[in-house]
Amino acid sequence: MKKQLVHIKGTKEGLVLRLDDQCAYAELVEELERKVSEGSIDGTVDVQLHLGNRYISKDQQQQLVDIVQYTGSMHVAKMHSDVITIEESREKLLTSQSETFVGIVRSGQVLESSGDIIVIGDVNPNGKIEAVGNIFVLGNLKGIVHAGIEGNRDAVIVASHFEPTHVLIADQIEVMSNESPFVKNHVEQLFAYLNTDGIISYERLQEVRKIRPLLSTVKGGS
């Protein structure tokens, strides 16, 4: 008997389609089209696609989704592949890395980072830091800071002297001229984050461990 290229399995969350990762893509598409049109399901059901060790492009992903959803009775909830390209992995690595900048971000200068950034020095008024991840300033922060510039709402901004003019996290912006009395009275060792309501809030930096415990990346130790 010919080897089955598409395994269908029922689970509590819906159907799981396990697609063979060794055969040719064209064969897989052909069999998937047949299998999907065979079944008769009442209502709609959520489907997960498991691709195994097969890498597929964005176009191919869309093609598979279209095939599965063609009958209208199945909805692709999730697509899972065990492989990513080297480029994607490099990007992921970059966003999880932290860069260190030694110097002063002066008026008119923009410091960009594709991950976290640590500034050893000051950020002067009109100087700007833009980071995909978190921002840590071991000096006077008096400029503009934008953490989570690609939309990471968990990003935080930490400074030993916290006196920025503008604070931006993901899509939120706060102009510090109408700053809260808390920030005005506690400029030393402060951090900014988005609270559960999505509003920029400030807290003593010692509270980071409670509010963003996942920030910790320590390895080993006891």
Partner: protein, 265 residues
């Protein structure tokens, strides 16, 4: 081989030209051969501050475009014996008449003959600034205690740090001691920490600086003036001496006034 120092500030009106004229004169009085170059093409006024305006024949653009030799365009200051020369800016054209490369070769030529070439930079960060910085080995940033001047100084320091020159040094000009002592302006320490570059010297605000500039005579020619002393100190620091920073305290209080101030607390 001499040294070229550009004097810049970002903001206008903080005293670049006055500083250039006075530092140049002070260095010449110390026996160095100095050439001042006005790069504010189209808005020249270094010649006025030095009182040399009616002796200009050729200017910087004439030299660069080959209409005359460098030594023909240089104006000699008779007050300082064979030590101080000025290369005036052109008044009829604008800053785009010169490129940074042309400027660099001109400054390099002057450096061969003079101990110090002081370049008076125009305000702003455009073509004029780029021309002025092109030939420099060192930079002096002039600011006043006003936040607008400090902000622009910060910007210009950021730009200078990207150039291939020594870290810039700071002069704080026009210090008003009563405002500074009352915390109405940032004090010297705060400004230096904020800009985090080395402080070369301070100049205390003084009306005589203006009146003497109007007469075409730099204030350093008058040895009994606080601002003049500030410029002379800076000149000595440029020459490598270590001179303590002058205090900005007001006049020494007498014993009687001291007693009054103690009891009035």
């Amino acid at each position: 081989m001499g040294e070229a120092i550009v004097i810049t500030s970002g903001k206008g009106g903080v005293g670049k030209t006055t500083t250039t004229a006075n530092l140049g004169t002070a260095l010449a009085l110390q026996g160095k051969k100095v050439c001042l170059v006005d790069t504010d093409i189209g808005l020249r006024n270094l010649d006025l501050v030095l009182g040399l305006d009616n002796r200009i024949i050729y200017d910087l653009v004439d030299v660069i475009e080959g209409r005359c030799k460098v030594h023909q365009a240089l104006v000699r200051d008779k007050r300082v014996e064979e030590k101080l020369f000025l290369l005036p800016a052109a008044q009829t054209t604008d800053k785009n008449a010169v490129t940074p490369e042309q400027m660099k070769s001109l400054i390099d030529e002057l450096k061969r003959e003079y101990d110090y070439v002081l370049i008076d930079c125009p305000a702003g960060i455009e073509q004029g600034y780029k021309n002025a910085v092109a030939g420099a080995d060192r930079a002096i940033v002039v600011t006043t205690p006003e936040i607008s001047a400090i902000r622009d100084a910060d910007r210009i320091i950021g730009l200078l740090e990207k150039e291939d020159i020594e870290p810039p040094k700071l002069i704080i000009n026009r210090i008003r001691k009563e405002l500074m002592n009352n915390d109405e302006t940032m004090d010297i320490n705060q400004i230096t920490l904020h800009l985090s570059i080395d402080l070369l010297g301070i100049i205390i605000d003084n009306e005589e600086v203006i009146t003497s500039s109007n007469k075409g005579e730099p204030i350093v020619m008058n040895p009994n003036n606080k601002a003049s002393l500030g410029y002379r100190n800076i000149a000595r620091r440029i020459l490598g001496e270590s001179v303590p920073l002058m205090t900005i305290e007001g006049e020494q209080k007498g014993m009687f006034k001291k007693l009054i101030s103690i009891f009035s607390k």
